[in-house]
């Protein structure tokens, strides 16, 4: 185990895969520590995160194939349950499922029965009755996906496409994939995440992933109103000045201002935000010359990032999109695999218990 530097780290120390899956709170892993739901980065051991990245490697070159599919999820039904608007995330999940040869159903919740008063549980059970094998869920309430995973029929995998302000684990993993592919070993990297950290479920997942994967240093940069002190407990250093926070970093991740989530007057104006925290070519010079620039999208030119940077040679923003499909394919195929293995394990357990009953006469 690497020795930690003196950056304040959270209380969670790396736990073995076995210990984590034995933890009843960890609904994400099978008895053998294999992924069977993908809800949050928290609680997943480094080996699982690395397995996701390695599996995605095999899916990244699908574009070269004439038939851009693998038959892994053939005959499986994948349902996109998006309770919050998203064209981008939903389309990449749809594409990922189709490339795995699954049958995809996208439910537009705004026009569905929930507006007629149906509860979340009833919607779910109705869809289960149609024989769904996987739900990809985006919800405005933090923790909704955990609730679903704990209630759903066995052998149905749940993938979190974003819950409230809590987590967006697939986005974090595609960001980790981007960093690993272009920068290599995490233990040598300083990573800065800039912008509306307060409202960002992406930032929370990214910080967890970076720490689990052993990044040298994780920095959060933003105005004080969007950067509560409690975030230091996640395992990151907080900065309110770009000049200080960006110094010598290897990776700069810009976040979008989540105006739709802001209740109070947290910022004087977008122009002020851009002046202090927007990533311009000038500010990028504080980082290392070979630093990479990332953004989960959609980008707001002139609000958090200058066009010259977004379109510049250090930007990997468009690469992130294609890596996103590969990561989602990896997570989906691993979860179905984990569910299958769990099912086999349960059957074996039931069979051996039955035998014990007979022989103990």
């Amino acid at each position: 185990m690497k020795s930690m530097t003196d950056i304040p780290r959270p209380a969670t120390s790396p736990r073995s895969a076995a210990a984590l899956s034995a933890d009843p709170r960890n609904v994400q892993l099978t008895e053998d520590g294999k992924l069977r739901h993908f809800l949050t980065i928290g609680g997943l051991p480094k080996e699982v995160l690395e397995e996701i990245l390695d599996t995605a490697d095999s899916f990244v070159n699908m574009g070269e194939k004439s038939v851009k599919k693998v038959p892994l999820l053939r005959g499986k039904t994948v349902v996109n349950l998006f309770f919050e608007n998203s064209t981008r995330t939903r389309s990449t999940f749809e594409l990922a499922a189709q490339r795995l040869s699954a049958d995809v159903l996208s439910l537009d919740i705004n026009t569905s029965a929930t507006t007629k008063g149906e509860t979340l549980m009833d919607t779910l059970q109705n869809l289960e009755a149609m024989g769904s094998d996987m739900f990809i869920v985006r919800h405005a309430d933090s923790g909704a996906q955990h609730f679903i995973a704990s209630q759903v029929t066995p052998n149905v995998a749940i993938i979190n496409a974003g819950d409230g302000r809590h987590a967006h684990p697939t986005q974090a993993m595609l960001d980790m994939y981007t960093i690993r592919k272009h920068k290599g070993d995490f233990s040598k990297l300083k990573v800065a995440i800039v912008g509306d950290i307060l409202h960002s479920r992406v930032a929370r997942s990214q910080v967890q992933a970076l720490n689990t994967l052993g990044a040298e240093e994780v920095r959060l940069i933003g105005p004080k109103t969007l950067l509560p002190d409690t975030l230091a407990g996640l395992g990151a250093k907080l900065y309110t000045r770009m000049e200080d926070g960006l110094k010598d970093v290897d990776v700069v991740i810009m976040l979008r201002l989540q105006k739709e989530r802001m209740d109070g007057a947290l910022l004087p104006s977008e122009g002020e935000f851009y002046r202090l925290y927007g990533l311009t070519e000038e500010k990028l010079n504080y980082a290392r010359p070979d630093a990479i620039v990332m953004h989960p999208g959609p980008i707001n030119r002139g609000v958090e990032i200058e066009s010259a940077v977004a379109d510049g040679p250090q930007s990997l923003i468009l690469n992130q999109v294609s890596y996103g499909i590969a990561i989602r394919m990896a997570v989906m195929s691993m979860s179905v695999s984990g569910q299958t293995q769990q099912k086999v394990q349960n059957q074996e357990n039931a069979a051996s218990q039955g035998n014990d009953g007979e022989t103990s006469a």
Partner: protein, 171 residues
């Protein structure tokens, strides 16, 4: 009573395979063949054939984990490697190489994957060893040696350096 199976020398076998393959290519008029090995043992054998045949074009490698027919029962193989076909398979004469053929399911999976990349003009199957136990009607065009193992015995190619065959007995 178990009899110990005598395992052939791999290097001799591969040289033999190379000769047979050259003859086959001539007989069948296969111009501009492309070699493709199946991970991991097939890739090691294919690499040797690649140099013995003095192939200019890069070697293709296939990992069939995503095309296995037991995924719904067993799940994903933990050590999946990326497949790499650095040439268009459309219209090519492919020589598919594996270390051992037994049930034939690996070869079926490999062909399914190959065809998803593009339609080849032909596929020739070369295996180092052929064991009995076919569950599908698939046979190699060229094979180094047909082996019959004693009950409970399995054979494994070790590599990537100093290729050799190892006998394993299940206890």
């Amino acid at each position: 009573m178990t009899t110990h199976t005598n395992l052939p020398d791999v290097n001799t076998l591969i040289e033999q395979l190379a000769q047979q393959l050259k003859q086959h290519i001539q007989n069948q008029n296969l111009n501009n063949i492309a070699l493709v090995g199946i991970h991991s043992g097939g890739v090691w054998v294919a690499e040797r054939l690649h140099s013995l045949l003095e192939q200019e074009e890069a070697l293709g490698t296939l990992d069939i984990s995503f095309y296995r027919d037991d995924y719904t029962r067993v799940g994903l193989n933990p050590s999946v490697k990326p497949s790499s076909l650095p040439f268009a398979t459309e219209g090519r004469h492919i020589v598919l190489v594996d270390d051992v053929i037994m049930s034939g399911r690996t070869i079926r999976a490999a062909m399914n994957e190959l065809f998803d990349y593009g339609r080849p003009d032909s596929v020739t199957l070369v295996t180092l060893l052929s064991l009995p136990g076919r569950e599908l009607p698939i046979q190699p065009d060229i094979t180094g040696q047909t082996l019959t193992l004693a009950p409970g015995e399995r054979v494994k190619l070790t590599g990537p350096d100093n290729l050799s065959l190892e006998l394993q007995t299940a206890q």
